[in-house]
């Protein structure tokens, strides 16, 4: 059975992604910065959980006879690696990925208003570079095509691929079970799954996570009382247990959206929109813009849906809508102070590198890490490895040992 959904359905796919992703708090740049500083491993847990669940779901449905719009990004070693490194450097500085910028916009975060123009300029810079022999070489050298773990995507055999996906998922879930969420945590959740109690170390980290996630939030509803979602967002999202109910539920929902996107039409991706906008507004006759125009699917509408979903989530569920008030992430405050100009510059420059790298690599954390990850794509693994290495190293160099707890900065 082959389905190709209309373009406008991408809007609904974006909403379905934006609501749970915003609940996780990944629209808050401090979440990415804490991942980079290896203080909080929630994002790593997200990647493992979504790709584990998603790969089994994807190849399970494929084995049952459903046709998928498989579209792993091509594996060109130089461009994907260099792009991943630049992406990681920029994400550590700005605290934003292309997709989380859309979430942050829906949540009313002021600093993203500087990150998005930086991202557009980064996409424009790649459009210019692609016009040159260097740009062509970056994506042409050592290009092995659309490879997944068993070889070319066109030669995938459903049942063996499903078996590999099950093995991959088992490995990811085991890693997740041994991985304490917060730095210095001692608990192994494979051993302690039966209990949900946390020690004082974990409780302190969880309280601080809840504190930074709600920093600067306003309540346009002004109900003045707790909602039924408060426990879900304030206690479970910040839980030290990466197997906590909300974290698992969101992981399964995001995986389902990524797989649904592959079933309905195309891979879920969020950075192409930047190049598409730049191409339309400033560079319609450039080679890269023409390629983007020819290949674009529902990505811009998906991004619009993500903004909508994050707005819905932050106003009605998590109540983390910040109404574009000046909120500086605690790690940034601890290192550079509370000057909004410095933060704006950091967002602009960091996001420039993020989008320049993403377009060079042919995708971002959505297109490569999540969508490519569930397809068990080799370029997704290379991009993610390069991105994480650069993310950790840059955070070490930039933030050093700066304070990061909300009460300390």
């Amino acid at each position: 059975m082959q389905v190709t959904a209309p373009l406008w359905v991408g809007l609904l796919v974006g909403v379905a992604f934006g609501i749970p992703a915003s609940l996780w708090g990944i629209g808050n740049p401090e979440t990415v910065i804490r991942t980079a500083r290896r203080i909080d491993r929630l994002l790593l847990g997200c990647f493992l959980l979504v790709t584990a669940v998603g790969s089994v779901l994807l190849y399970g449905l494929h084995a049952l006879g459903l046709a998928m719009h498989f579209s792993p990004r091509p594996l060109y070693l130089v461009g994907v690696t260099v792009g991943g490194v630049l992406f990681g450097i920029g994400a550590a500085i700005s605290g934003y990925f292309p997709g989380t910028e859309m979430l942050a916009l829906g949540e009313g975060r002021r600093d993203v208003l500087f990150a998005i123009p930086g991202g557009l300029l980064g996409a424009a810079a790649w459009t210019l570079l692609y016009q040159t022999p260097i740009g062509k070489w970056l994506v042409g050298a050592a290009n092995f095509g659309d490879l997944v773990v068993t070889g070319d995507i066109d030669t995938v055999r459903p049942v063996p691929m499903l078996m590999i996906a099950v093995g991959y998922a088992a490995l990811c879930l085991m890693l997740l079970s041994f991985l304490p969420r917060y730095t210095g945590g001692k608990r192994s959740y494979l051993r302690d799954l039966a209990t949900t109690t946390q020690d004082e170390h974990d409780r302190a980290f969880a309280r601080d996570t809840a504190a930074y996630l709600s920093e600067g939030s306003v309540d346009p509803l002004r109900t003045g009382r707790e909602s039924r979602f408060d426990r879900l967002t304030d206690v479970e999202v910040s839980s030290a247990n990466l197997h906590s109910r909300t974290i698992r539920l969101v992981g399964v929902l995001v995986a389902a959206v990524v797989v649904a996107s592959l079933f309905l039409r195309q891979a879920f991706g969020q950075s192409t929109t930047y190049s598409w906008v730049v191409g339309h507004l400033f560079a319609p006759n450039f080679d890269y813009s023409r390629e983007v125009f020819a290949a674009i699917g529902w990505e811009p509408l998906t991004d619009l849906g993500v903004i909508f979903g994050a707005m819905l989530s932050s106003i009605f569920i998590s109540r983390r809508f910040t109404a574009f008030r000046p909120v500086i992430p605690p790690s940034w405050r601890g290192r550079f102070g509370s000057h909004p100009g410095k933060r704006a510059a950091g967002c602009f420059v960091g996001s420039f590198l993020v989008l320049f790298g993403a377009r060079m690599a042919g995708g971002c954390t959505s297109g490569h890490t999540l969508s490519g990850g569930v397809q068990l794509s080799l370029s997704a693994w290379l991009f993610t490895a390069a991105m994480l290495a650069a993310l950790f190293l840059t955070a070490r160099l930039v933030y050093r040992d700066a304070l990061w707890r909300v009460r300390d900065v």
């Binding site: 190709t4 959904a5 209309p6 373009l7 406008w8 809007l11 609904l12 909403v15 916009l105 829906g106 009313g108 306003v218 309540d219 346009p220 509803l221 002004r222 109900t223 039409r265 598409w276 906008v277 339309h280 507004l281 125009f293 020819a294 674009i296 699917g297 529902w298 811009p300 509408l301 619009l304 903004i307 909508f308 707005m311 819905l312 106003i315 009605f316 809508f321 109404a323 574009f324």
Partner: protein
């Protein structure tokens, strides 16, 4: 559920329906072909207006 919450939820749902409806009309309900800038920019004005409205509502007590 408070009146304010209900009202805002209704506004949000109407906004989403209008955004989707305008996207359907402007893309012609197609599943292929080229996506034009106006097919995205025009629907995008609705969440943009909602963001401004909710921001102003949050700031004015």
């Amino acid at each position: 559920m408070s009146d304010r919450r209900t009202l805002m939820l209704i506004v949000m749902i109407i906004g989403l329906v209008l955004t989707a409806a305008s996207a359907v009309v402007l893309t012609g309900g197609r599943s292929d072909g080229v996506l034009t800038l106006s097919a995205v920019a025009i629907p995008a004005t609705i969440p943009a207006v909602l963001l401004v409205v909710f921001t102003l509502m949050s700031r004015h007590r």
